[in-house]
């Protein structure tokens, strides 16, 4: 009997890793494809057709690639990218800064929040090529495990996350909020954080983490 495992048992996503050796990213990609296939019954053909379109649209290798220079976390990068590349895809796929997350990819969830010239923006709703000369900061530039930003430390202390997927976006928004005209009340923090969705529902602890950093900064100022 010929060994058919190689030709037929390949995972849906082409990958250099064998099954059982998945990284978290490839595992999640496969999970995405698997759940997509599972929902592709006869009644949902439009969804299947549409998803095919979307996958084609994500191609970033192109003969029409243009040179783009970006400054991210104080470092200069030069990349050749398709003009369609969003800032988020450029950060993740080209610069391998995968801390910024892709949630909805339509500006509705806030997982992709980064700072551009000190202000928080959505990297999924902008093109990388529009940001030459801008100072871009991602979660990687905010702090590292051995030297965390006070907001990162507060998220740990206050248990302000569960699955962690929205967390980098939450923290980027929370740090930006410190310099924004946000009132002192929890309700005002909630309003200022409404662009960051947390499906685990860690909202109360997120507000607590932000308020603890604000109170700490206030105490330092007066103390």
């Amino acid at each position: 009997m010929p060994d058919r495992s190689e030709s037929n048992e390949k995972p849906a996503m082409d990958s250099r890793l064998e099954f059982g050796q998945s990284t978290r990213r490839t595992f999640l990609s496969r999970l995405g494809i698997a759940s997509l296939l599972a929902t592709t019954g006869p009644g949902v053909t439009t969804w299947a057709q549409r998803s095919e379109k979307v996958v084609q649209g994500l191609a970033t290798e192109s003969k029409d690639a243009i040179p783009v220079s970006l400054r991210v976390n104080g470092k200069d990068y030069s990349v050749q990218i398709d003009p369609r590349t969003t800032l988020l895809d450029c950060l993740r796929e080209h610069l391998h800064l995968t801390g910024s997350k892709k949630g909805c990819d339509h500006g509705q969830c806030g997982a992709c929040t980064v700072h551009i010239n000190g202000r928080r923006q959505l990297s999924c709703l902008s093109l990388a090529a529009l940001h030459e000369g801008d100072e871009i900061t991602t979660i990687e530039g905010l702090g590292q495990p051995e030297k965390m930003h006070p907001m990162q430390a507060a998220f740990v202390t206050c248990d302000a996350y569960q699955c962690g997927y929205c967390t980098s976006g939450q923290i980027m928004s929370a740090v930006a909020l410190l310099k924004e005209p946000c009132g002192p009340e929890d309700a005002e923090v909630q309003e200022f954080m409404s662009g960051n969705i947390c499906r685990c529902g860690a909202y109360q602890n997120i507000v607590a983490a932000i308020q603890s950093v604000r109170k700490g900064a206030e105490a330092q100022k007066t103390g």
Binding site: T46, G57, L125, A129, S194
Partner: protein, 334 residues
């Protein structure tokens, strides 16, 4: 997303030249200006917008807010929504504009979105956004899926048998109440358009949303000086407390003297196919006492021509109550 060529003009003239030869400046335009990108990139990903050329405006010097000699305000096309909403002169003289902007979207989006982009914000009608669905605005002649479909959030004023899509902007509603003027530079020179004439009703051509022609670049918006003694306010009603489009909203600018309304400007959001000025409500208010009975009459007049659909009949009463409440709040003694 369809492939496009990215152009980076060094000045307004180059930007205008880059788009002047297109067939339309409306839905289906082959060339699009991009500023904040919060509407356009989203719609390009959905293939609702498929420009072949994208013209980056972000380096043009159109981002200033300045006081005019008459006490009015000039607002550059590229002023970001956050900067406009938090500007001291806007907060002091045109509170309704600040409140309207801050009631829309989120901090991240307001940090990106621009004044001119917000004027051109596209509808959130789900049939428009889904390229598998019929939509006369996206694909003229394909029909309107919304009229007999999911239309809870859609318009009740200014609709036609071809389109009932709501204009989603909050900023536009305030701009209408403030009688803003939109300044455009195009291949034939400069012109000024009162905001009331800027957006057009869908009629038989819902793909056409504004009076802009190919090559037209919005350079700035001006606001007249605030009317002496006027107070203004924006009230927005929606399904969630934050980050949601209006089901109904009201922008009101009112002057009271000796208990009587001497001047009123009223605009409604969330209910119209364009930001909805109501001269009928203004007429009911002017010269009358600032009482709830008068406000109720004004609200009746504003919604007199409403044409609700199967799912959005509630908006008629909601919009009336929204306007009455906004008028009560703005006329309360300080």
């Amino acid at each position: 997303m369809k492939a496009f060529q990215l152009m980076r003009p060094k000045d307004s003239a180059e930007a205008i030249a880059a788009t002047a030869k297109t067939k339309t400046a409306q839905q289906g335009a082959e060339s699009r200006f991009i500023a904040g990108g919060t509407t356009l990139i989203d719609l390009m990903k959905l293939r609702v917008e498929q420009p072949q050329n994208l013209v980056d405006l972000n380096r043009l010097p159109l981002d200033k807010i300045e006081m005019l000699s008459d006490g009015g305000l000039t607002i550059g096309a590229l002023v970001r929504n956050s900067d406009l909403a938090h500007h001291p002169l806007v907060r002091k003289n045109h509170a309704v504009l600040s409140e309207a902007i801050l009631s829309g979207a989120t901090v991240q989006i307001r940090n990106m979105a621009t004044t001119s982009g917000n004027l051109l914000q596209r509808t959130r009608c789900m049939y428009f956004r889904d390229s598998a669905m019929p939509c006369n605005k996206r694909d003229p002649g394909s029909g309107c899926g919304a009229i007999n479909g999911a239309n809870r959030g859609l318009a009740i004023l200014g609709t036609s048998e071809h389109c009932i899509a709501t204009n989603p902007s909050d900023m536009n509603v305030a701009m209408v109440a403030l009688e803003a003027t939109i300044h455009v530079r195009g291949p034939k020179g400069e012109r000024s358009i009162p905001i009331a004439d800027f957006h057009v009703l869908p009629g038989n051509t819902p793909q056409r949303e504004t009076v802009l022609e190919p090559g037209d670049l919005i350079t700035h918006v001006t606001l007249p000086p605030p009317a002496p003694g006027a107070r203004s306010l924006y009230l927005k009603l929606r399904d969630r407390a934050s980050y949601e489009f209006a089901l109904a909203s009201a922008a009101v600018v009112v002057t009271i003297a000796d208990g009587k309304v001497t001047r009123a400007r009223v605009a409604l959001g969330g209910v119209g196919t364009k930001p909805w000025r109501s001269p009928e409500a203004e007429q009911e208010l002017t010269g009358q006492s600032a009482t709830e009975a008068v406000f109720r009459k004004a609200a009746q007049a504003a919604l007199r021509d409403a044409k609700p659909q199967r799912q959005n009949g509630f908006k008629v009463e909601l919009a009336k109550r929204c306007l009455v409440h906004a008028l009560k709040l703005v006329t309360q003694p300080a």
